[in-house]
Symmetry: C2
Subunit: 405 residues, 2 copies
Amino acid sequence: MANIIVLHIAALPSVTIAIFAHGFENTTFMTFTIDASDDKSNARSGEIITDHGTIETPIFMPVGTAGTVKAVHQRELVDDIQAQIILGNTYHLFLRPGLDIIEKAGGLHKFIGWDKPILTDSGGYQVYSLAENRKIKEEGVHFQSHIDGTRHEFSPEGVIDIQRAIGGDIIMAFDECTPYPCEFEYAKNSLALTHRWLDRCISRFDQTSGNYNFTQTLFPIVQGSTYPDLRKESAEYIASKNREGNAIGGLSVGEPAEDMYAMTELVCGILPRDKPRYLMGVGTPENILQSIKLGVDMFDCVMPTRNARNGMLFTSEGIINIRNEKWKDDFSAIDANMEGYVDNFYSKAYLRHLIISKEILGAQIASIHNLSFYLWLMKESRKHIKIGDFTSWADLMIKKVSVRL
Amino acid sequence: MANIIVLHIAALPSVTIAIFAHGFENTTFMTFTIDASDDKSNARSGEIITDHGTIETPIFMPVGTAGTVKAVHQRELVDDIQAQIILGNTYHLFLRPGLDIIEKAGGLHKFIGWDKPILTDSGGYQVYSLAENRKIKEEGVHFQSHIDGTRHEFSPEGVIDIQRAIGGDIIMAFDECTPYPCEFEYAKNSLALTHRWLDRCISRFDQTSGNYNFTQTLFPIVQGSTYPDLRKESAEYIASKNREGNAIGGLSVGEPAEDMYAMTELVCGILPRDKPRYLMGVGTPENILQSIKLGVDMFDCVMPTRNARNGMLFTSEGIINIRNEKWKDDFSAIDANMEGYVDNFYSKAYLRHLIISKEILGAQIASIHNLSFYLWLMKESRKHIKIGDFTSWADLMIKKVSVRL
């Protein structure tokens, strides 16, 4: 069967050359095409093409930690939320169900029943969150499972192998995500380690191929805490690796929003314009709109789903705490501007009752709503970038979506 | 607007007389028509017509305790599970969200978004389960809320008023559900109280009308523990009230299955043949098939949903404990004989992973599966009663569905 190799010419982002090739595995590369750019900001819209289909950017990626976007059926991700790519967490999937099961299933896509793109993180962020139960060395990180206390090690090479076994379309380099605040010396040494680990990841990645019938791509991650010098050094190092996409990590970990934006702006100015930029773990609707202006293309965050389970709703008119007494007899739609099932079928009063009563359906409705809203916000962003009025629209939306109703 | 009054002629169950009448409220009665009877047992298939549509019998009614069938969206109840009627629990709904909210919404159907029939229980069963926190008197039952300790009273009249406010299509008389085992003297006195309470319920019901734009009907409940004399006395008393349907309570509370079947058989022999019979809180697939043979038409039970959340699946091939190691790499369908989304889309191995990982989606998938299976079993039962081979089919199914896989 003939596959198509698409060679992407960096200087002319909309020009691609297709060559027919034979063989199933790893014969195509991920491509990124920018189709519109905003005049007043660095926002751009485009398309990432993977073997599992196209991702329109800017995009938000729902987090499917353990192979499930919590409280959401796979068909709801497609039909209601219109997700184009979801995340899996290497740490969680490695521990449970474990690589043997995922490999026997034929990879994560088949195991969970998701045939659109998947991005897996490197496990670094989760491992560092274990605090007492992990130890960082040059070789890698030793840690204890939060589930059963068993001891494991993640090394740069091991994490590439694990992500080959899981089978995400986009996989991430193993990095150290520094906490906030972070001493300069620690951040500097950590960054050097992250860069050495990146070289080991790239080496392993380029010497191996995917375990399944599609191409994977490796994104390196810029670190450097909130220090401009370190961020600049890191962005230049990461850019020099010339991978198919690049990520910005170590932000949204407690620093002031202005620091996050400053670091993102600085890094986006250095990372190549013709490669997708992924700002990891961000954030609120406002954070995302501001970061799109700075040139970010991809986002992920647990906020829409985690907050949903606690009754916090992001809507086109502002933020709702559905547990608030004021919604108890409000029988209007959750968000009248949304077109999906949950927004048209269920009322605020009913959702409040479910959340207050700790009913599972409350988590289900709120999760679908919040994710639908995030994906709607991305669709509107792309539309307004293409129309040419993104900045004025985004400024208006930022005011709206930040209001507490 | 003209409504239709349907007068049901008991001696000729398939003959009905329709009279046009004017006015919105309480102008039609519930009808029950038997369309086939089994030669070798007392099984029968039929239809109950309510203002919210038709219920084909025998039927299983998913339990929607607090206005939600746990972990299941309303559209999934319709499309995937093919539920025809669901239950609401008066005790839970009374405490939360409370009658004011339900009334403002226009009744439970509108509050939760369910336009098919609803049956509400009388709250008695939940109140008695409170054990230490309730006191039974002639007037009614004093109890403390399990949520906040607030004190409340349920009386026969009050419970009718509450069920008028909630707005179920079928509402239940306030009874005392005796525990098992139960001393004869206690059961005898309790039964007399239940009968006195029934008269008060009927009196209140017949002096009031529905709060919303449809007719409600009141089912009395046979009690009498496992004492044939008491069950006979109760069934005769209940039959003499000539209501549109009758229920059998106080079973499936811990007694041996043979006692449950013996009491059900005895009672079904006395309750009028031309009225639907509802066996409350029953049960396993085997319990249900056996009871259909005895002449029961309606069932409810939390088992399919509660057990689903613990990873116990009822399938057409037998019972699965999905937590069992043996399913960890079984990528086959949950139940290949079922046609719905969850059975065709998700694998046993994936469901096992979700349940083991305590992921909400596990509860969602297992709940839809179990309820779909229960409703499928009812559909097959109706089909085989109509075909005429119900008894032999049921005996075969009982063996199959009781196997532990």
